[in-house]
Assembly symmetry: C2
């Protein structure tokens, strides 16, 4: 073999995650095999097992990274545009990385088995709840927070599945339509001005 690099890759774990991430986004979860990722990283078919005990663990690591990215995207958006922007960032993330989003929420991986995954996900949701807190306090407010989250999450899912007919756009840009949909509801327990 002419193409035999150094015996030790030196930085394999991140390389595998990169390769797997590309495979995921381009071919979908079903086409993401351990062996193909190994090939793309230029190592033997069994090398990944030194870094991930099984396929599920690789996927869990991908999902964990996804939650981290979603979290920072939302924080950045919140800093500039407030709550509104936060929700829009959530939807945008889903539409820009559809396969990753599905992996994160599709239930394909046993969350209980992967502590790091669960934690990174929880962090994101806590950030959302905190941002909502000022407007929605008290017991009823907490239910409303869940509703807000569900709304944003559900809209992401439906757009992702292309389940919202293009006629619903009615000539608007997609982002504009998202804004309108998110703005079309009011929270019963809201404190002062018009939230959303």
């Amino acid at each position: 073999m002419s193409t035999s690099g150094p015996y030790h890759h030196g930085d394999l774990r991140p390389a595998l995650l990169r390769a797997a991430g590309q495979l995921l986004e381009k071919q979908g979860l079903a086409a993401l095999s351990l062996r193909e990722t190994a090939r793309r990283a230029g190592v033997s078919h069994n090398a990944p097992y030194r870094h991930f005990p099984d396929r599920g663990s690789l996927l869990a690591a991908l999902a964990t990274a996804g939650f981290a990215a979603l979290g920072t995207a939302m924080q950045e958006a919140a800093a500039h545009g407030g709550l509104r922007a936060m929700g829009e960032a959530y939807v945008r993330f889903a539409l820009e990385r559809p396969q990753r989003f599905r992996l994160m929420f599709g239930g394909a991986l046993p969350i209980a088995k992967h502590a790091a995954l669960r934690e990174s996900a929880t962090r994101v949701f806590e950030g959302l709840a905190q941002a909502l807190a000022p407007q929605l306090a008290g017991p009823a407010g907490r239910d409303a927070s869940i509703a807000a989250w569900a709304l944003v999450h559900g809209l992401s899912q439906l757009l992702l599945d292309e389940r919202i007919a293009s006629s619903a756009l009615r000539g608007r840009e997609r982002d504009e339509m998202v804004r309108a949909v998110l703005g079309s509801i009011r929270f019963a327990a809201a404190k002062p001005q018009t939230p959303a």
Copy 2:
């Protein structure tokens, strides 16, 4: 082989769907293999190919049946309890058949490839839109309809993934909590009384 029944099963297609449905709910989508379903139906590993061109088509058929079931569940609920009950039926369906629901919305199957699937899904959503129409008319109302659907769908997903901490129940039954969450929002464009 002593256990060799008649050469022709006689009713294989539905039998396969039954077996596959059980496998799906009990073991999850990943464990649903064509060969295992064939085994459970008592036929050879290739018999399913006389009824489904490939694995994806079997899954599509399962999803199609799922949409049909969801549709009737929602219609029944609507007949008795109105809009509220409709939304609750949606959530209940998701929680009672988690794997089926995930199959229907997880994006694991290429919707474009399966016309029957797309149609049965569309029927369900049209039913929902129609039920919403009286309360939410006009352009703004249509955005609100999408919001309502997204809310119900997102809540289902989050509950399914066990992403809503049990502390959010605050002592209530789950159904009660669902009611409260769905009831915590108002539609900006609503016509008369308090919708939900």
